[in-house]
């Protein structure tokens, strides 16, 4: 392929950073629903997914911080989970096509099963070493991997460094969990701020896909220092272990549920509560990333987890919108 590389506009960068926020937000309910479907909360698969969920929350914050540094007017909306559609990623164009290995897959909310864990692996699938320079394409869904997507984002960020402003609606809820990172925010302007912003994107990509297809420890700087028993492993490596468990002789036992429980049933009620709580959480996230400090954010985030768990306990597949 021989595409030309367009020059990024600030709007392009902002649009891509909104995509990044969309993508990171999308993963959280998807992963959490699979995690809470595991009956045994001490199961290694539960624990592994949980560490990824926590880092996806971090990634959402980091992406939002970078987006705000570029003046993006972020919109936090409940994601959709339809078919095999993962926002802004299209694995078909990656080479080789990772779907050959991770098949079948589903982007619909569901219990931890092969289709779900394959999607989780696909989302975190590493870029090939020495891959071609990422390009900004008119249709963003053509990014073949999350790594390629973020390389494109970094390219745009670099081109538009002059537009970067530090200390703009920066959020830090996780700093003490990453004692080796000097900051999780962008505090400086222009080129100096760009180095900070790129470091945040590197944290996302290193923790997510890792290097060398997730087979090497992620850099110490990006490792969780507080509550991750597998802090050195990237998401892709963690999800491969979960996949091995799913395919193993003793896969983790999961709750089952239906997408449409009878109206008025405990399952339907649990879904209603989750939809309400997740919608409220999105509103609070929006406020958080607009520089406010909604006291309800932490409790609501916690409540969403409980509501997901409650759906499974009541025989319903969690529903977020």
């Amino acid at each position: 392929m021989n595409h030309s590389v367009p020059t990024w506009t600030l709007e392009d960068v902002q649009k891509h950073l909104q995509y990044a926020v969309d993508l990171e937000l999308w993963t959280i309910p998807f992963y959490m629903a699979a995690m809470y479907s595991i009956e045994d909360r001490s199961h290694p698969s539960f624990q592994l997914i949980q560490t990824v969920v926590y880092q996806e929350m971090l990634h959402l914050q980091l992406a939002a911080n970078v987006a705000n540094a570029y003046g993006t007017e972020l919109a936090i909306r409940p994601p959709a989970y339809i078919g095999d559609k993962i926002p802004h990623l299209n694995f078909r164009i990656d080479h080789p096509d990772p779907r050959l290995e991770f098949h079948p897959s589903s982007a619909e909310i569901g219990p931890l099963d092969l289709a779900r864990v394959n999607s989780m692996c696909l989302i975190e699938y590493p870029k090939w070493a020495g891959h071609h320079r990422p390009e900004l394409r008119p249709n963003i869904t053509e990014y073949g991997s999350i790594g390629e997507f973020y390389r494109a984002v970094q390219l745009g960020m670099t081109e538009r460094a002059a537009d970067l402003r530090g200390r703009r609606q920066q959020v830090d809820e996780f700093g003490r969990f990453y004692a080796n990172m000097d900051r999780l925010t962008v505090d400086l302007d222009g080129e100096a701020g760009l180095a900070q912003a790129l470091r945040l994107i590197q944290a996302i990509t290193n923790q997510g896909e890792g290097e060398m297809r997730g087979e090497r420890d992620i850099p110490t700087m990006f490792q969780n220092t507080a509550d991750d028993a597998h802090a050195q492993h990237a998401h892709f490596g963690k999800f491969r272990r979960v996949r091995e468990a799913v395919l193993g002789a003793h896969p983790p036992r999961t709750y089952s549920g239906v997408a449409h429980p009878p109206p008025g049933s405990p399952g339907a009620r649990a879904q209603e509560i989750l939809v309400r709580d997740f919608g409220a959480l999105c509103t609070l996230l929006q406020a958080l990333f607009y520089g406010r400090d909604p006291a309800e954010f932490g409790p609501r985030m916690t409540k969403v987890g409980a509501a997901i768990f409650s759906c499974w306990q009541n025989g319903a597949i969690p529903r977020f919108s």
Partner: protein, 663 residues
């Protein structure tokens, strides 16, 4: 005319050491829980001495010389109609005082007998990761002070290592102070209501056997004293928080080499039975069901409720193994029809979670989540709350969850080989019932004596008996308890006290035996038999139990967690740091000279254990803002440290990590 039975309450009273002659009385309300008659205060505050129920304020914590006051335990007698088979809760009971009329007889006196002793030096070591399991399969842990002899029952060893002033009797109508020292004669009440002196009783104090003791805060010459009040009640005050050490053969004082088991050391905590004889105007007498008094560490955060309290642990044993409430647990199973009372059996767990923030460096998001937990009311649908599905509660029925940290709660340390703490089985059952909507919104109706039992124990630490602060893993052993509680008329929660025949005491011969050994059926529990399983001296364990890595720690995590957050404050908000109603940063509770360390795993404690022996009275006390007197006013929603004699820098919020020793 119905027959009456008499019981002393609380069944277990808790006194606490202080370095002052003065004292206040143990709280008779439950830490952190609402009071029926006060909007501005919650329960847990001790009671001003000489009053019926007046809560102390910040001014009452220290005496005029700045010494930390002791907490005395107050005991009373209640009468109940006799039943062939008692049920719990009884719900009734009326206090018996001097002057009370009971079935045509008037009470003219109450004769109390208390026997305090300290057997810590003569008992077995605490094996931290085993707890009571160290006594299973006819095994015994190694003895403390093995150089004093290999057998805990050896007479010479007992004579040297047991602190035993003997029993003391007090006539309720007398306003005398009866001391547990060497010069006050041993005495006891007979069933006929007479006080007998026992001059032959062999008293033993550390200085009797060991010359040239190291006495950092003075010698141990007493274990406390008895007082009466105008109604004939009993008040037991304990020791002064002293610890003394004897010398090795080379003449050197034994070092404080460990946190829990230190050979060569004594402290002046204690425990023992409390009995009473009622004397009537017609010359008859009646004995009351006996109680027990425990004298232990100071209460540095009396209004912070434990998520798993001593009450919860004891109730769990009584419900599961001693038939306390068959409607809750019978035939080896919890009864799904039981509807726990929200205010009594569920909400205290939620409230306790919220209160931990005042003694720990919880981050903001966790504080807010805990506040949401405490805001759950009985009218909330459980599925709509932050605890829907019990998604964040560690399930004690799933062994593996003891190894699982965040997000499972409580996020504090467990005991006996369990890295994290879980609610008791019974607490978890109550939570499950709540989660399924099977609960009643109100409170359990307790009789006034039963309420004292509960308050006394719910204000103490449970869950993490490593070894703990007030009582330890022995409360999980059915052999500790009187099992015939339902038929005997004595009611529940009574320690199986050994019948002691003081008339048989002989000069020069130690009276008390080796005593109770866990998991063994025996003649009963003697004075000194519950406190002997606690740390020796208590100071070193209190000092160390700020934060730790989990134990075991299979993933070699450096993350630090709290040991006893409700009762051993780690990080506190100092009242003087509050400005315009806003909290300042947090400070370590144990701070100042001698506490500094570059390693967070060693911060908030003295680096040299001996410093704790000397400086513990300087530690401040965390109390509700509205209990703080002075020119400034504080919020009832803030629990702040006051009266500290220590000072130092701020504490960052959790998480904190131990330094890598390889760095």
């Amino acid at each position: 005319m119905s027959k009456q039975v008499f019981r002393i309450h609380p069944a277990i009273g808790v006194a606490r050491v202080g370095n002052s002659e003065s004292f206040y009385l143990a709280p008779e309300t439950i830490a952190g829980l609402p009071l029926p008659d006060r909007d501005d205060l919650v329960g847990g505050l001790p009671i001003r001495a000489g009053t019926e129920a007046e809560p102390i304020t910040s001014r009452d914590l220290r005496d005029a010389d700045g010494a930390l006051k002791r907490q005395a335990a107050r005991f009373r007698i209640y009468q109940y109609p006799a039943h062939d088979h008692e049920a719990y809760p009884n719900g009734g009971g009326a206090e018996v005082r001097i002057g009370s009329e009971i079935a045509g007889r008037r009470v003219v006196d109450i004769i109390w007998t208390v026997h305090l002793a300290n057997k810590k030096s003569n008992t077995y070591q605490l094996i931290d990761d085993q707890g009571v399991d160290a006594y299973r399969h006819d095994q015994l842990p190694p003895l403390r002070n093995p150089l004093q002899g290999p057998d805990a029952s050896d007479e010479a060893r007992r004579a040297r290592l047991v602190i035993d002033p003997g029993p003391r009797a007090l006539r309720g109508r007398d306003h005398k102070v009866v001391r547990f020292d060497a010069s006050t004669p041993a005495s006891y009440a007979t069933p006929a209501g007479e006080i007998r002196l026992q001059p032959d009783y062999f008293k033993s104090f550390p200085s009797d056997a060991f010359p040239d003791l190291l006495c950092p805060r003075g010698p141990i010459e007493t274990l406390g004293e008895l007082h009466g009040d105008d109604h004939g009640r009993l008040v037991v005050a304990g020791g002064y928080g002293r610890a003394v050490a004897f010398r090795r053969r080379d003449g050197q004082v034994y070092p404080l080499a460990a946190d829990v088991n230190n050979d060569g050391w004594f402290d002046d905590t204690s425990d023992g039975p409390v009995s009473a004889v009622l004397c009537f105007d017609d010359g008859t007498t009646a004995e009351a069901a006996g109680a027990w008094v425990v004298v232990t560490d100071p209460g540095y955060a009396p209004q912070t409720l434990n998520v798993v309290s001593l009450w919860d642990d004891i109730c769990n044993t009584w419900i599961r193994e001693l038939g306390l409430q068959p409607e809750v647990y019978a035939h080896g199973a919890y009864q799904k029809a039981y509807r726990p009372a929200f205010e009594t059996e569920i909400w205290p767990i939620f409230r306790a979670a919220d209160l931990q923030r005042w003694n720990t460096n919880l981050p903001r998001m966790a504080i807010r989540a805990h506040q949401a937990v405490a805001s759950i009311t009985a009218s909330d649908a459980p599925g709509e709350t932050i605890l829907a599905g019990l998604a964040y509660i560690r399930n004690p029925n799933h062994e593996n969850e003891f190894n699982t940290g965040v997000p499972l709660m409580p996020l504090s340390l467990g005991d006996a080989g369990k890295p994290f703490l879980a609610p008791t089985f019974t607490q978890y059952f109550y939570l499950e019932q709540w989660n399924s909507g099977c609960f009643d919104p109100g409170a359990i109706r307790l009789g006034p004596g039963e309420a004292l039992d509960r308050a006394s124990l719910q204000n103490c630490l449970g869950g993490r008996f490593s070894p703990g602060i007030d009582m330890t893993f022995v409360v999980r052993d059915v052999n500790l308890w009187k099992r015939d509680w339902a038929a005997s008329g004595e009611g529940p929660f009574r320690i199986h006290a050994r019948k002691l025949d003081y008339a048989a005491a002989r000069p020069g011969v130690p009276f008390l035996s080796e005593g109770y050994v866990p998991l063994r059926a025996g003649p009963g529990v003697e004075p000194g038999d519950t406190s002997k399983f606690m740390a020796l001296p208590w100071h070193t364990d209190y000092n160390s139990c700020a934060t730790h890595n989990t134990s075991p720690n299979p993933i070699n995590s450096s993350t630090l967690f709290w040991s006893w957050p409700a009762q051993r404050p780690v990080a506190v908000y100092v009242a003087a740091d509050v400005h315009d109603g806003k909290l300042g940063g947090q400070r370590y509770s144990v701070r100042g000279s001698g506490t500094q360390s570059p390693d967070p795993s060693a911060q908030g404690r003295y680096q040299e254990r001996l410093d704790m022996i000397e400086n513990w009275p300087g530690i401040g006390v965390v109390i509700q803002g509205t209990a703080i007197e002075g020119e400034r006013r504080f919020s009832k929603d803030q629990f702040l440290e006051v009266a500290s004699l220590l000072d130092e820098e701020l504490v960052p919020p959790w998480p904190q990590n131990a330094l890598d020793p390889n760095d």
